[in-house]
């Protein structure tokens, strides 16, 4: 029988700790426990058997670290240790039975061994050096071994990073049909190491299609009981609790766990009452703990399903009329919520209306187009941060641009944004290939924009949404176009919801867009949207709308948009794709929240507007010349002064040559003479950058092509190195001097540097390395460049010296960013002469 036949219908019991007991049996710190499956199989089997006799019916295989990274150099392959681990577990079940002891609740058809997968021990990129797909591959190898060993389920445990958990879940799904359990390790505030909270981790795991989710390690059962309701509130999946024997305490160099077996079992009763139906233990527990837990909870029924009204218990409640019966019973769960996540806290639909920032979309935005073409993801990130600062909850990411590989651009923009913010993103594309790439690499439960009522769209999008656990925006259009009646659009919405259900996607994960068409061509358009929103609201279906389309072709669009926004919100619109940098839209939103009771006591409204100046201050007049503003490091004044110069018809090139560069030269000289210091240099760089941003804006507005850029320099932090602050400073300074810097980022392989130099015909390359361990990579990069190009190579970084630079064959060495500027100026001047 499968474990799924029992899961959620009765209490199941995991075993307890293995590591502590192996150590007690003589395993030394630093030794690999997995190797003991082979070298000390009897000891491992005995420990397993002691848990079986205590009442455990799910054994965790001794394979926590059985991945190719950790097994490297152990003398054994992943498959060898996994197969041995399952031998030991099976032997334990046999031995426990043979011993003839009474094993409560452990009948032979209820003996399961879980393939145990722990963390890889590496941090995933962009914060560490393990690429997401490499993590998937590592887990996949272990999963395949587990399948060969006839595992009954996969247990992904002690996950402290949602991204790593996603890699493990995908590996399990793609390489087996086994049931998947996932347990996370939270701190007592309910946060993972990467910052994701309980709700986020659970929602992501549920979206990815696991069979049960829960908690292990880190905390004792008392604290797990406190976090359990937070998991219960967002999922109807069966919940697991494998806590530690309380918090560990250091005593004379040894770790002692604070909760004894009796107290543990008592607390586990609370854990059960809060919803867990799979119970066991982690660090510090032993068979006595498990025996007492099994004893105390024997014969109890799981509470989670009853709470949610789903599963067998839910059906019973429907039949007896306790809760209303539902037509689409498979998708029915009264406790489920609509939410999307990044890796922080979730954003819920149906509470306060959700704002989705629309500005990361190249349509009509030349600067963004430029940035996407040049791989300038910092610009994309700044657009995102500006919107978040203004109050957006989710960021829409659309990078569709003719001539660009959308899959590559979209994933770059998305991962770039996820490296700087944990908020949820809306993946916005109609390119299915790009869609899958982005969904796969996304960290969390994404919002996907979009599917529509066309057969082809649903056939392509729903399988992806299901696999990667996305919530999907459903557009009210199909092969017949956009219906011009509310009934017509609602019929498409129904079709989308019904088809989604066929793919196993619950209606809570479909958010319908009624589609705003401009009022300027048909005055009935707004009324149709309002009617659709109202009708869907009544059915408990959430809605989203790109509000600003309503005013297309009209003057004073902000006025029309904000009024239509208010009407839509009043009709029950759950979320809007809008520009959070429009004050008027944000005023409408905040006022609506106050008026509708979503902003209790008008607290947020007052906090935002109480101290706002009555009238808009006149645009600040800069008292500084541009030169002074840069030298003094005043970014805002620098922007204003640049604007003023341009208004006075100063040519952009004159602004650069007569103001920006002389100012930067002054600062650079001061830095060299040690009359100015690093903070001043950096502030001046920021100020010069503000001037450049203003120049670019004006040039775009004036229709001047921005392609008139300076000489190109390729810049990279070498392979293996993840420290990039120095590189970032050099980049800004070079850009301030008008150079076109192709920034390849950090941890860049030699071949990528060569490729970029060739592609951009760059005459200069800047390479940085922080540590002795990466100087070898720098040497390799230099040698690869010498083989393929005749570019000049400038090196820098904490570990570098002139001597070192000479040894590895660089053309130049820059001890600091100012020296890097001097070098570049010299090279390109010589070139011109």
């Amino acid at each position: 029988m499968s474990i799924l036949d029992f899961l959620g219908k009765e209490i199941l019991y995991f075993d307890g700790a293995m590591g502590t007991r192996l150590q007690a049996a003589g395993m030394k710190p630093g030794e690999l426990p997995e190797v003991w499956n082979i070298t000390h199989g009897d000891i491992v089997a005995d420990i397993h058997a002691s848990y079986v006799r205590a009442g455990a019916n799910i054994l965790k295989s001794n394979t926590f670290g059985a991945n190719a990274l950790k097994m490297q150099g152990s003398g054994y392959s992943v498959e060898e240790v996994v197969l041995a681990a399952f031998e030991n577990a099976r032997k334990a079940f046999r031995d426990a039975g043979r011993a003839g002891q009474s094993v409560p609740g452990v009948s032979e058809d209820k003996q399961f061994t879980a393939l145990d997968l722990g963390p890889t021990g590496k941090l995933l990129a962009p914060f560490g050096d393990l690429q997401f797909e490499d993590a998937v591959a590592l887990y996949a190898e272990t999963v395949r071994a587990g399948v060969k060993a006839k595992a009954d389920l996969v247990l992904i445990e002690t996950m402290s990073d949602t991204y790593e958990a996603k890699a493990a879940i995908l590996a399990a799904k793609e390489n087996s049909d086994l049931p998947i359990f996932v347990t996370f390790t939270f701190d007592k505030d309910g946060k993972l190491l990467n910052g994701a909270d309980v709700e986020t981790a659970v929602l992501m795991a549920e979206g990815l299609g696991v069979d049960a989710v829960g908690f292990n390690c880190g905390l004792g059962p008392d604290l797990v009981a406190k976090l359990m309701p937070r998991a219960r509130a967002v999922t109807c999946l069966p919940l697991i609790a494998n806590p530690n024997a309380g918090l560990p305490v250091e005593k004379e160099g040894k770790t002692v766990f604070t909760t004894g077996p009796e107290d543990f079992a008592e607390y586990m009763l609370d854990v059960y009452k809060e919803g867990a139906s799979v119970l066991g233990g982690c660090c510090g527990t032993n068979p006595e703990y498990i025996r007492l837990v099994a004893e105390r909870t024997q014969g109890l029924q799981p509470v989670q399903a009853a709470v949610h009204g789903c599963g067998a218990a839910g059906k019973e409640m429907q039949t007896s009329g306790i809760i209303p019966a539902d037509k689409n019973s498979t998708a029915f769960c009264i406790g489920s919520v609509t939410a999307v996540t990044g890796y922080g806290a979730p954003v819920y639909f149906g509470k306060r209306p959700v704002l989705i920032g629309e500005r990361i979309n190249p349509t009509g935005k030349p600067l963004l187009k430029d940035a996407l073409r040049n791989n300038d993801m910092d610009y994309v990130c700044r657009l995102g941060l500006e919107q978040l600062d203004c109050g957006a909850h989710i960021l829409d990411v659309n990078t569709g641009l003719p001539g660009l590989d959308e899959g590559a651009t979209l994933t770059k923009a998305m991962t770039g944004l996820q490296a700087i913010t944990p908020v949820p993103l809306e993946i916005d594309t109609s390119n299915y290939e790009a869609m899958e790439k982005a969904l796969r690499l996304y960290n969390g439960k994404p919002l996907l924009n979009s599917v529509n009522g066309k057969k082809e769209s649903m056939e392509k999008v729903f399988p992806l949404a299901k696999k990667y656990g996305a919530a999907v925006v459903g557009l009210c259009l199909d092969e017949t176009g956009i219906p011009d009646t509310a009934e017509g659009r609602l019929a498409i919405a129904e079709k989308i919801l019904a088809t989604a259900s066929d793919y196993g996607i619950q209606s809570k994960d479909i958010i319908i867009d009624p589609l705003a068409l401009t009022v300027s061509t048909d005055s009935r358009n707004p009324a149709i949207d309002i009617a659709v929103i109202k009708a869907l609201k009544e059915k408990g279906i959430h809605t989203v709308m790109g509000v600003s389309n309503i005013s297309f072709g009209l003057p004073n669009r902000d006025g029309v948009n904000s009024t239509f926004f208010a009407m839509s919100l009043a009709a029950g619109l759950s979320s809007a794709i809008m520009n959070p940098q429009s004050d008027r839209m944000m005023e409408t939103y905040r006022a609506f929240c106050a008026l509708s009771g979503a902003d209790e006591g008008c607290k947020d409204f007052v906090a935002r507007y109480a101290d706002a100046p009555k009238t808009k201050a006149a645009a600040a007049v800069s008292e500084y010349t541009l030169y002074d503003a840069i030298v003094k490091g005043l970014a805002e004044q620098s922007g204003t002064a640049t604007k003023k110069l341009l208004e006075e018809k100063t040519a952009p090139l004159d602004v650069i040559n007569n103001f920006i560069i002389p100012a930067l030269n002054t600062v650079g000289e001061g830095f060299g003479k040690k009359t100015l210091f690093l903070p001043q240099l950096l502030m001046a760089a920021d100020a010069a950058k503000a001037a450049f941003d203003e120049l670019k804006k004006q040039m775009q507005a004036g229709g001047t092509e921005s392609s008139a850029r300076g000489d190109t320099i390729v810049l990279a932090v070498v392979k293996g190195d993840i420290h990039d602050i120095g590189k970032n400073i050099v980049k800004v300074l070079w850009e301030n001097y008008g150079y076109h810097v192709v920034d390849l980022g950090k941890d860049v392989p030699a071949e990528s540097v060569v490729e970029a130099v060739e592609k951009h015909q760059a005459k200069l390359v800047g390479l940085t390395a922080l540590m002795t361990t990466t100087v070898a990579a720098m040497e390799e990069t230099i040698s690869a460049l010498r083989d393929a190009t005749d570019t000049k190579i400038l090196v820098g970084g904490a570990v570098m010296t002139q001597e070192y630079a000479d040894t590895i064959g660089a053309d130049g060495y820059a001890p600091d960013a100012v020296a890097a500027v001097d070098y570049a100026n010299r090279i390109f001047r010589e070139e011109k002469e």
């Binding site: 590591g19 030394k28 710190p29 426990p33 910052g195 305490v249 040894k254 910092d378 941060l385 950096l682």
Partner: protein, 262 residues
Amino acid sequence: MSKPSETIASFHEMKFAVVARLSEGRSPEFRSHRRMSPWKKILFNKNEALRYYRAQAGDVKAAALIDTAYEKLKQDLQPRCTVKRFRCSVCMEQGKGCVVLDNDTVFHSNALARYIGNAKELFLFGATLGSRIDVALRRMAVTSVAEAGAGQAVAAALIETYCDDCCNLLQAQLPEGKKLKWRFSPGYGDWPLEEQKILFTVLDCAHTIGLTLTESCMMAPVKSVTAVMAIEDVNGTVTENEISKCQRCGKTDCEFRKKYFL
């Protein structure tokens, strides 16, 4: 389940234990401190941050940037540490100094061997501010280099203070007559950075505090520290412990070197 090192307490819990012990017989108010999260109490040493930022005395704009950076970073702090105690001995292996632990771990470095000296015990130690600080630092880097520089300086000051706090707590746990020596890290002197790998395996940093090592032996999250601390017997004489870090260091052209020792 078989995590290799369950004999570790994070600093979080370590602190609980120490405070609990100190608080015996004290007032209930004192005991209530146990519920506080230790990381909320890392004191921010602004002067150190300004020094790391290489700001001149009286640079008010730099000071303001440091304040802003601290405000932006503090809610993302998630500091953790892990520590293990070993007996140790010093020996020579192929003409090079070695330090051997009682679990057969060997570190190869003359400088480390000299540092250990006559100490019979040591702590292996790892600490990190957590990966959310990396996210926050990167967020600063895309908007302003001046702020990003300030953020780096603030984070550097915070991890140092946190390590000092951890060491003070460890010292408080030692019996009288035992003294904790200053922290000695891989990469100091001739101790190869590659031996971080050994240290990470023995401490199981990834599992205990979420600190990992890249292929090229860099720590991720970035704002992290690993070190050895010798446990010395004190017999009334002044030990090296009281000498400033800067005076001890041989890198006399270091930009961070305190002026006093130049």
